[in-house]
Amino acid sequence: MPDLARFFRQLYLIRRVEEDVARIYPTDKIKSPVHLSIGQEAVSVGVCEALRPDDVVFGTYRSHATYLAKGGNLKKMLAELYGKYTGCAKGKGGSMHLVDAAAGMMGASAVVGTTIPHAVGYAWVQKVKKSGRVVVNFFGDGASDEGSWHESLNFAALKKVPVIFICENNGYSIHSRQLERQPHANLTERAAQYGIPAERIDGSDTTLVYDKVKKAVDKLRGGEGPIYIECLTYRWREHVGPNEDYGAGYRDRKELEPWLEKDDVRRLGAKLPEAERKRIEAEVETEIKEAFEFAEKSPFPPDSELWTDVYA
């Protein structure tokens, strides 16, 4: 049963964390690139709410939402963005390499398309071990251009591994529209040709995403797989960095409008009793405030950390 309050809490948390990241960014306290998910939160929340804690996700450089939706530790995430020793990767990874193995967030890569086969390999082990655990891979419409997409889907289908491919199609790879890189906007139909059940859905509808993924997860736990879901969504801010970029020339603000109307942070919030919504918001604000304070106060890693974690 979808728990709207819980959905709202997660959406609100992610939105507000990223808004604050954007707000703080001009201070140069975060000295590394940030790729914000603002506008795309419903995909991560809908997907991860349908998962068990011991299920596993692989993300991209744009993974603040995925990390938090999967239950990744907020303090460690912000400390990581600040380059602090208390960060999830001790400051060595930054925003593009979020990881929280305990929460099932297995890592994110800054080279587009590279985690797709990782998810397949991880899922194959679950199948062999009959663990019942499910693996999800988040990637974009741009990543779907890469050879690794074809090779990974083919092999996942061949081995029938319990992986869900979540294509977060926000219509752009940096400033290139999908149709500037692909002859047709038919990634779902392409995926289906590998014999993978594939569907294109509105990725701004958290409950819809949840329902689809929940059904997929149930199938996969029973030993079937893989499944592909293309979630249509929209990136509200610039590709990288804290700002909007509707003045840059590659897209018009008009494109944003329908997505603003479908914003589930607002839509789901409005469905909750006001007192409950306010309580959740207050809780989340406190959590965020504490996490930023934690990040601010934490120390940078000692020099010796340069040399650790290369070889075991």
């Binding site: 940030v34 990874g93 251009d145 940096i174 960095g241 340069l306």
Partner: protein, 343 residues
């Protein structure tokens, strides 16, 4: 001619425009070349000037796009394939190493592959392990490839033009912090020769061979060393393949000491090669500096330890010259001035 002072990025832009005007078969392509960021400004509006077939965006398909360039080159065109990060060349390694470098040889001279691969080292602003790599050491290993790594605006323009006109596959190693360096650039078309190094500063106590951005850091170190009474000769190899072993050795014969500083790892890298090649000819005391032998950390304080800098270069050089340590005080790091985020 102070009106001809410009950044290395502007020099690249000027060079490519002039070559595209001269030769209809020259074209640029790669992720983002025709967007408003225009590959660090170096391909700005080329599609408007020359048409959409001569400056175009691509899907994220580094492997096939490298093969596409090879095919276009086989058909007589001159592709300039642009990569915003050198790290992404790893996806095109098979085409570069197994085809581009070998085609003429394995096809007995019937085929040429005159591609130009521009790739930018993305250091600065917390790029981390996968967006900061200089990997020229990998490509120097492969016979059949030519490689430029310019550090001055003058050489940026001259290397680009030389690469475009050359019948062999050429990789140009750029660096986004070097892109912002300023210097005099002649208006006319000119080429910089393959296989010829450039003495950036004469000196008599030690030869510092420094590559790409490290040539700039080495010049800063040389200034520190001068204050300490050490006269450093700074040599920029410019052409990494073929390498000007004779020119570098001549400098070492004069100074009697060698320090190689790279924007790459030293193990099996350019620093290993330059040291070994010089030692084979003229053994002297030497040292190598480069990335710490670890992946690049993101946080600034560790990143500062990862890269050689004017202070550590000066200290290493001083030790080589005098056989004893001396501590140098470095000026403020210029990194953030030379490239500020977010990407």
């Amino acid at each position: 001619m102070s009106d001809r002072v410009m950044t290395a990025a502007q020099a690249m832009y000027e060079g490519v425009v002039q070559e595209m005007e001269r030769d209809d078969t020259v074209f640029c392509f790669g992720i983002g070349v025709d967007d408003f960021k225009a590959f660090y400004g170096t391909t700005k509006d080329l599609h408007k000037k020359f048409g959409p077939d001569r400056n175009f965006d691509t899907p994220l398909s580094e492997d096939a796009m490298t093969g596409f360039a090879i095919g276009a080159a086989m058909a007589g065109y001159k592709p300039i394939h642009c990569h915003i990060r050198m790290d992404f060349l790893l996806l095109g390694m098979n085409q570069l190493v197994n085809i581009a470098a070998k085609a003429r040889y394995m096809y007995g001279g019937q085929v040429s592959v005159p591609i130009v691969v521009r790739s930018v080292i993305g250091r600065s602003w917390g790029q981390g392990a996968q967006h900061s790599q200089g990997l020229h050491g990998l490509f120097m290993h492969i016979p059949g490839l030519k490689i430029f790594a310019p550090s001055t605006p003058y050489d940026h323009k001259g290397c680009l033009i030389a690469a475009i006109r050359d019948p062999d596959p050429t990789i140009i190693v750029e660096h986004r912090m070097v892109h912002q360096q300023r210097g005099h650039v002649p208006e006319e078309l000119y080429t910089v020769p393959f296989g010829r190094s450039r003495v950036l500063q004469q000196g008599k106590d030690i030869t510092i061979v420094a590559i790409s951005y490290m040539a700039i850091e080495a010049m800063r170190a040389a200034a520190l060393l001068e204050e300490a009474g050490v006269s450093a000769e700074v040599v920029d190899p410019v052409s990494l393949a073929p390498l000007d072993v004779d020119g570098i050795t001549a400098s070492v014969e004069k100074t009697g000491r060698l320090l190689v500083v790279d924007t790459d790892w030293t193990i099996c890298g350019a620093a290993a090669e330059i040291a070994a090649a010089v030692m084979e000819r003229h053994p002297v005391p030497f040292k190598r500096m480069g990335y710490a032998p670890v992946p690049c950390p993101t946080t600034k304080n560790l990143e500062n330890l990862y890269y050689p800098n004017p202070k550590t270069i000066a200290e290493t050089a001083y030790q080589l010259v005098h056989g004893k340590p001396r501590t140098f005080t470095a000026p403020e790091a210029t990194e953030i001035i030379e490239f500020k985020g977010p990407f």
